[in-house]
C-alpha cells in the first residue's frame, strides 16, 4: 500500500466519523428549528385569532379545519402556550400518518375564557433524517472523488524529491566515486533523509576504500617478504649442503610456494569481488580455449588421457580476457588432475555453454561444496583448493552460471553463458 493511500484511508475514515457526528448535529438542529418555526407560525396565527375574538368576532366564524375554539372555566388562568406533538392521519383519503403539531393558548376575552387550539402537519424526523443522510452521503462522495484526484496529483508533486532520492540510491555503487546529487527540497523530512543518506554513503565508501586498501596492501606487503625468503633459500641451495639440509630447504621452499599461491588466489578473488574486471566488449572464448588446449596437450598426453573437442567458431561472451584464461585454465587443469590414467576429457563449446567433462573418481565432498573456498579432495594435498571458488566468482561477476555434476564416473562442469 502506498503511503498516500494510507493517508487517504485514514483521512476518509476520520472524515466519515466526523460526518456521522455532524449529521446527528444537523439532524437535531434542523428538527429543533423546524419545530420552533412551526410553533411560532401557529402561535402567531392563534394570536391573530385571539385579537379577532377581542375585536368581537364570534368564535364560530373563526373556527376552521385547523382551528378549534372552546370555552373553558373563566376562573382558570390564561395558558400562554401548550404544544402537543402527535401522529395523525394527514389526508384521510391517503391514509398516511403524519406528524401533527398542535399548539394551544387560552385568552380571557370579555369575561369569557377561550381556549384556541391550532394544529399543523410538519416534517417527520424520518424525513429530516433522510435528507440529512442523503446530503452527508453526497458530501462524502464528492470528498472521496476530490481527495482521490488531488492526492494523486499532490502526492506526485510532494513525493517527487523522495522518488528522485530513491532512484539515486538505486544507482549507488560503493566503488564509484561520483558524488551523489540529491534533489533540493523544502520538505524537512526529505532534507533529513538526504542529509542522512549523503553522510551514510560517504562513510560507507570511505570504509569500503579502507578495507579494500587494507586487503590490497596486505596481499602486496606479503609478496616482498615472500620474495626475500624464497631468494635467501634459493641462494642457500647454491652453497655446499648435505642431502638432508638440501631436502629441508626444498620443503621450506614448497611451503613458500603454497603460501604465495594462496596469496595470489586470494588477491584475485578480492579483485573479482571488487569487480575490477568490467568489460564492454565481448571476447571470443574459442580463442581462449584452443591455445589453452595446446598448452596442456603435453600434460594430457603424459597422463595418457584422450582428448575430444568440439569447439564452435567464434563464441562471443562478455568476459574479461584475463578471466577467460583463468576460467578455462582452472577447469581444464582440474579435468587433468582429477582424471584417471588412460581416461578421457571431452570439451565442447557452443554459443550457449562451455562443457568440460572428464573421467575420474567420485568426489569425496558434496557437489555444492566443491565451489567453496579451501575445499579440496584428500588426494590432492598439493592443491590450494581455490580453483573452483575462483571459477564460481568469475561466473558470478560476469553473469554466467556454472553447474557441476557427477554421474557414471564422469565429472561434468558446464558454464552457461546466459543466466
Amino acid at each position: 500500500m502506498r503511503l498516500v493511500d494510507k493517508f487517504t484511508v485514514w483521512f476518509l475514515l476520520i472524515t466519515a466519523l466526523v460526518l456521522v457526528a455532524g449529521g446527528l448535529i444537523v439532524f437535531t438542529r434542523v428538527q429543533y428549528e423546524v419545530d420552533r418555526e412551526a410553533i411560532r407560525r401557529i402561535k402567531s396565527n392563534i394570536d391573530n385569532i385571539a385579537s379577532a375574538l377581542k375585536q368581537g368576532a364570534s368564535p364560530r366564524e373563526l373556527q376552521s379545519e385547523y382551528v378549534e375554539i372552546t370555552e373553558v372555566d373563566p376562573s382558570l388562568p390564561e395558558i400562554d402556550i401548550q404544544v402537543y406533538d402527535t401522529m395523525a392521519v394527514y389526508r384521510p383519503r391517503m391514509q398516511a400518518l403524519d406528524r401533527k403539531l398542535t399548539v394551544a393558548s387560552s385568552y380571557h376575552v370579555a369575561g369569557k375564557h377561550y381556549r384556541i387550539m391550532m394544529y399543523d402537519f410538519v416534517a417527520e424526523p424520518d424525513e429530516i433524517a433522510d435528507g440529512v443522510k442523503t446530503s452527508i452521503g453526497w458530501i462524502f462522495l464528492i470528498l472521496l472523488v476530490i481527495v482521490g484526484i488531488t492526492n494523486a496529483i499532490i502526492s506526485r508533486r510532494i513525493l517527487s524529491p523522495f522518488h528522485q532520492t530513491l532512484k539515486i540510491m538505486e544507482r549507488f555503487s560503493l566503488k564509484s566515486n561520483a558524488k551523489l546529487a540529491f534533489p533540493a527540497t523544502r520538505t524537512r523530512e526529505f532534507q533529513q533523509l538526504n542529509y542522512f543518506l549523503e553522510n551514510m554513503t560517504k562513510k560507507a565508501r570511505a570504509d569500503y576504500r579502507t578495507l579494500k586498501e587494507f586487503t590490497e596492501n596486505a596481499s602486496h606487503e606479503l609478496q616482498t617478504p615472500l620474495a626475500v625468503i624464497r631468494g635467501k633459500l634459493e641462494l642457500l641451495l647454491e652453497s655446499p649442503l648435505t642431502e638432508e639440509q638440501g631436502n629441508q630447504i626444498l620443503s621450506a621452499l614448497n611451503s613458500i610456494e603454497r603460501l604465495s599461491k594462496i596469496n595470489h588466489s586470494l588477491a584475485l578473488l578480492n579483485k573479482l569481488e571488487n569487480q575490477e574486471f568490467s568489460v564492454q566488449t565481448p571476447a571470443d572464448l574459442s580463442q581462449h580455449v584452443r591455445p589453452m588446449l595446446e598448452d596442456f596437450s603435453e600434460l594430457i598426453a603424459m597422463k595418457s588421457i584422450t582428448l575430444r573437442e568440439e569447439i564452435a567458431g567464434p563464441v562471443y561472451v562478455l568476459l574479461h580476457p584475463a578471466l577467460a584464461d583463468v576460467l578455462v585454465t582452472n577447469l581444464l587443469s582440474n579435468a587433468i588432475r582429477h582424471n584417471i590414467h588412460g581416461g578421457d576429457i571431452y570439451i565442447s563449446l557452443t554459443a550457449e555453454r562451455l562443457l568440460i567433462e572428464n573421467t575420474g573418481k567420485a568426489p569425496e565432498m558434496r557437489l555444492e561444496e566443491a565451489f567453496e573456498r579451501f575445499k579440496r579432495s584428500k588426494e590432492n594435498g598439493d592443491s590450494v583448493g581455490l580453483g573452483l571458488a575462483i571459477v564460481k566468482q568469475i561466473c558470478e561477476v560476469s553473469g554466467l552460471r556454472v553447474e557441476y555434476t557427477y554421474s557414471d564416473g564422469r565429472h561434468r562442469v558446464i558454464v552457461y553463458f546466459s543466466s
Binding site: A227, R230, G231, E234, L235, E243, L250, E257, T329
Partner: protein, 227 residues
C-alpha cells in the same frame, strides 16, 4: 653484463645482487628513485631490474625518465602487484618484461637474459654450452649437428637449464617457468619430472652428454663440472 637493481627492500636487492654476482655480472643497487636517477645519468647499464613501487615516487616515473633520456637498457619490472593495468602501462612505457613477486631468482635471471639477448645483443639468438646449442629465433636445439626433436615445453626447459647452469632448479620454479601463472592449479610436479626425463632421454639419444642431474630429491641441476 652490467645490471642496475632498483629495489627499496634491501634484503631483496641483496638476494638479486648475490645471485647475479655469482653469474659474473657487475651489479649495482639503488634503494630509491633519486639514487637510481643519478646512477642512470652517470653510467650505462645493460639491464635494469626495476621495482615499480618505490618509497619516493612511482617506479613508472623512473620508467618515463629512462625513456625520455633515451637510455638504451633492457628493463625488467618487478612488482608486488599482479595487476594487468600496471603490466600494460609498464610495457607501454618501454619496459621489456614484467615479473611478479615473489619470483624465483632463476626465473628472474632467465627473463633478464632473454630481454638482454633480444635488446642488447641484437641478432645473437644462440645460447650454447659445449655440444648443446639452442637457437631462440628458429626454436631449434642441437647437440653437435643433430637437431633435437623437442616439444615446445622441452625446448623452454632446455633453455632454462642453459641459462641457469650450475644452479639448483626447484620443481616449482620449473613448473612456474613452463606454465607461468597457470601453475596455481597445477601443483602436480610429476609433469616436471616427466619433462625433464624426456629431455634427458632426447639429449643422450643424440649422443649429447647428460648434464642434467637430480639434487636433493626435489631439484635439478645442469652441472657443467661433472665428469
Amino acid at each position: 653484463m652490467k645490471v642496475l637493481i632498483v629495489e627499496d627492500n634491501r634484503e631483496l636487492a641483496e638476494n638479486i645482487q648475490g645471485f647475479l654476482v655469482r653469474e659474473g655480472y657487475v651489479s649495482e643497487v639503488s634503494h630509491n628513485h633519486t639514487e637510481a636517477q643519478k646512477k642512470l645519468t652517470a653510467y650505462h647499464y645493460d639491464c635494469i631490474v626495476l621495482d615499480i613501487m618505490l618509497p619516493d615516487g612511482d617506479g613508472l616515473n623512473l620508467l618515463r625518465f629512462i625513456t625520455s633520456e633515451k637510455i638504451q637498457s633492457s628493463i625488467l619490472i618487478v612488482s608486488a602487484k599482479n595487476s594487468l593495468d600496471d603490466k600494460v602501462t609498464g610495457l607501454e612505457l618501454g619496459a621489456d618484461d614484467y615479473l611478479t613477486k615473489p619470483f624465483h631468482l632463476t626465473e628472474l635471471h632467465a627473463r633478464l637474459k632473454a630481454i638482454y639477448r633480444r635488446k642488447s645483443l641484437k641478432g645473437d639468438s644462440i645460447v650454447s654450452f659445449q655440444e648443446i646449442s639452442v637457437n631462440t629465433d628458429t626454436m631449434e636445439a642441437r647437440v653437435n649437428d643433430t637437431i633435437l626433436d623437442l616439444t615446445k615445453k622441452e625446448f623452454d626447459l632446455l633453455l632454462y637449464f642453459l641459462v641457469n647452469k650450475n644452479r639448483v632448479l626447484t620443481r616449482q620454479s620449473i613448473a612456474e617457468h613452463l606454465w607461468g601463472d597457470y601453475t596455481d592449479n597445477l601443483s602436480n610436479f610429476d609433469f616436471v619430472y616427466q619433462h625433464v626425463k624426456n629431455l634427458r632421454k632426447k639429449i643422450t639419444a643424440a649422443r649429447g652428454r647428460d648434464y642434467i642431474g637430480t639434487v636433493y630429491g626435489f631439484g635439478y641441476k645442469f652441472d657443467t663440472y661433472q665428469a
